[in-house]
Symmetry: C2
Subunit: 388 residues, 2 copies
């Protein structure tokens, strides 16, 4: 450990940036302090003054000021990648808010650029990866104890957002300003966790509903069916219009099953032997019993239930602390920047499948067609310039 | 009420047919008795003798004997439709086991033929429709109280079947003998209930795994994503290889949500107003509260939980009793024969989508392509003749 503290430049003092500033000001991140604050709204200077830190209206000036060792980008999604490149270029450690880009091309640009600067740390703000529940599942799945994946489904419809939320700003829930709806704003956490724990799917077929129950251009409802190869499949369901939202994740493997309710309770069932072995070795007498409801399979499995609490804000502080530790002590990264592309690619592929009504390859994702289709929607919307 | 009892001819005295015979012999169906029993295995005559009823090796002979008013077909799936037509032709009331046909063409043939015999009753054995839980859901959804459907998902993986089950007979789990796996044998009940309660989807995209974790030619794993039109969607997941099976049905509507666990517990949440009205009328202050975790939405909804027991066999007796009542008193049918096509068509469409890796129309289902693809598989298997 060192007494040195990383000086963080916060770009964008909105709801999220303001929260990080407050956490740092309260000393909740032992190895990090606010270095400076940047916002395009001049009236935010008062808050920087209150924290006793320099204020910049131009983020490039802040990057070149010598006031910051690292930055975090709490700005509209389209800006993450370009701000990341400008920071990395200047040797400033870069923690990008998710998504690292709105489209894979943009995400790849910043990820490729970061590779040319191996001495500068580059991370993505996947705070859910610090959630002990999901960390434990990641360890369990990686250990191989439950065997190969067979099927997984996540219904994550707790992202309820009323119309007023969408009416807050011009860029929100637009193609040109945000590049999507629930897939790019709310669900990226689960799109990351799902792939982090279960693996990256090979292809996807999806149905989205755009402006379904909200007056918005983008998707407020998503159903995706993915294929992990070798017969393993999964479904991912999310929306922002279910006031009584469900959060239920199931992961079925060769040797057991995980069920997570409300991101709080985990039920793990472990089979005494791989399911196929139990299946093949079952006698005809046992098969008959099964049909008379007399077969007791409980001796072939054990079930464990764990409850996890949650401390609001702790996740965000943990991400900041880990990022500072990477800089100060070369600690292992929680979410390396390049991991950010998986969620972006899956979200893009879900959009593209729903637009083309065809199954879309994730392995060989056609990012040019995606860009062309996205630009069509940005142009039709007529509020923001198209992208290249 | 009348004292007259319907004399039922049971075609096929296997596990299912034997169970019906026992129920009737025990007097569990007040308006029905065994009229005769038919089986191709001569050794089954002893059982008919024990019940004191005539035995036939040839079902046509039984149909023409004058011993039966009605029949039920507990025989391999491919035979249901042709036996139905032969019975209807002779004025014998016909209760077909599900599925009414293995493919829609076959199902349509018997359904069309039945229309030419309006005086003869024609039903399908969907015993789950007598389950009070699903009957209540049907009434609730039809009442319009919860408003239009938005989304539904059913994970029904409690159909675990070990390898020994599949090894019991030559025709089981083959293309030529059974015409499919979990979709035609186990899940037809849920395919029927789902469409009975939520409506008939317009199209489907599906991924099935054939012989995935069992040594069989047909599917033991199914993922289907359907579209009901107007943005309403659904997912249906089933398999026979999950020993720790899940049975969870969700139905989200404009004014509430239904969650069913294990076909036993129903949780109904009713919104005080349609969700879109609550969304639009929410003040910015309330939106801010939502993000600070301080918004109390509980005043906008009420939740009711109901537990349902189950009496094994009661469902089957109820179906037989209703069918007899249709014959004797022209009672309203529980499951008219023509309803049988919905489950068959959806199962066929799921197969076809998984084979072609394309979305398939259910509205305008291409049954010729389906037949051609099915026959390819029957021919490759080389155990049974192809179909036409």
């Amino acid at each position: 450990m060192t007494d040195k503290k990383v000086r963080l430049g916060i770009i964008g003092l909105g709801a999220e940036g303001g929260m990080y500033a407050q956490f740092l000001a309260e000393g909740r991140v032992p190895n990090m302090v606010i270095g400076a604050i940047c916002d395009t709204l001049p009236e935010q200077k008062a808050k920087a003054d209150a924290y006793g830190v320099p204020f910049y209206a131009d983020y490039i000036e802040m990057l070149e000021s010598g006031d910051v060792d690292a930055i975090v980008t709490t700005v509209p999604h389209y800006l993450h990648a370009e701000m990341g490149i400008e920071a990395l270029k200047r040797g400033i450690h870069t923690l990008l808010e998710k998504p690292v880009g709105v489209y894979t091309k943009q995400a790849r640009e910043v990820i490729e650029f970061a590779k040319t600067k191996p001495e500068v740390k580059f991370g993505v703000f996947f705070n859910q990866r610090t959630n002990p529940l999901y960390k434990d599942l990641k360890v369990l799945m990686e250990s191989g104890e439950l065997g190969a994946l067979r099927h997984t489904s996540w219904i994550i419809t707790t992202w309820w957002r009323p119309q007023g939320y969408y009416n807050q700003s011009e860029w929100r829930a637009t193609w040109g300003g945000e590049g999507g709806g629930v897939l790019v704003n709310q669900a990226p956490h689960q799109l990351d966790l799902w792939q982090w724990i279960c693996g990256v799917p090979k292809n996807v077929f999806a149905k989205c509903a755009y402006g379904f129950k909200r007056d918005i251009a983008v998707e407020d409802e998503v159903n995706a069916l993915v294929d992990f190869g070798d017969g393993a499949t999964g479904t991912f369901i999310t929306c922002t219009n279910d006031m009584m939202g469900t959060d239920r994740l199931e992961i079925l493997c060769d040797k057991g099953k995980i069920v997570v309710d409300n991101s709080k309770q985990v039920t793990i069932t472990r089979l005494s032997q791989p399911e196929q072995v139990l299946s093949v070795n079952m006698s005809m007498e046992e098969v008959s019993k099964l049909f008379m409801g007399q077969l007791d399979t409980s001796t072939m499995m054990t079930t464990e239930t764990k409850d996890y609490g949650s401390v609001w804000g702790a996740q965000h502080c943990d991400v900041l602390e880990n990022f500072a530790a990477q800089i100060l002590e070369d600690a292992a990264p929680l979410a390396p920047g390049e991991d950010g592309i998986h969620g972006v690619r899956l979200a893009n592929a879900i959009h593209l499948s729903s637009w083309t009504r065809k199954e879309v390859s994730i392995d060989n994702f056609d990012e040019d067609t995606y860009m062309a289709e996205l630009n069509k929607r940005i142009a039709a919307e007529g509020k923001f310039p198209t992208r290249s």
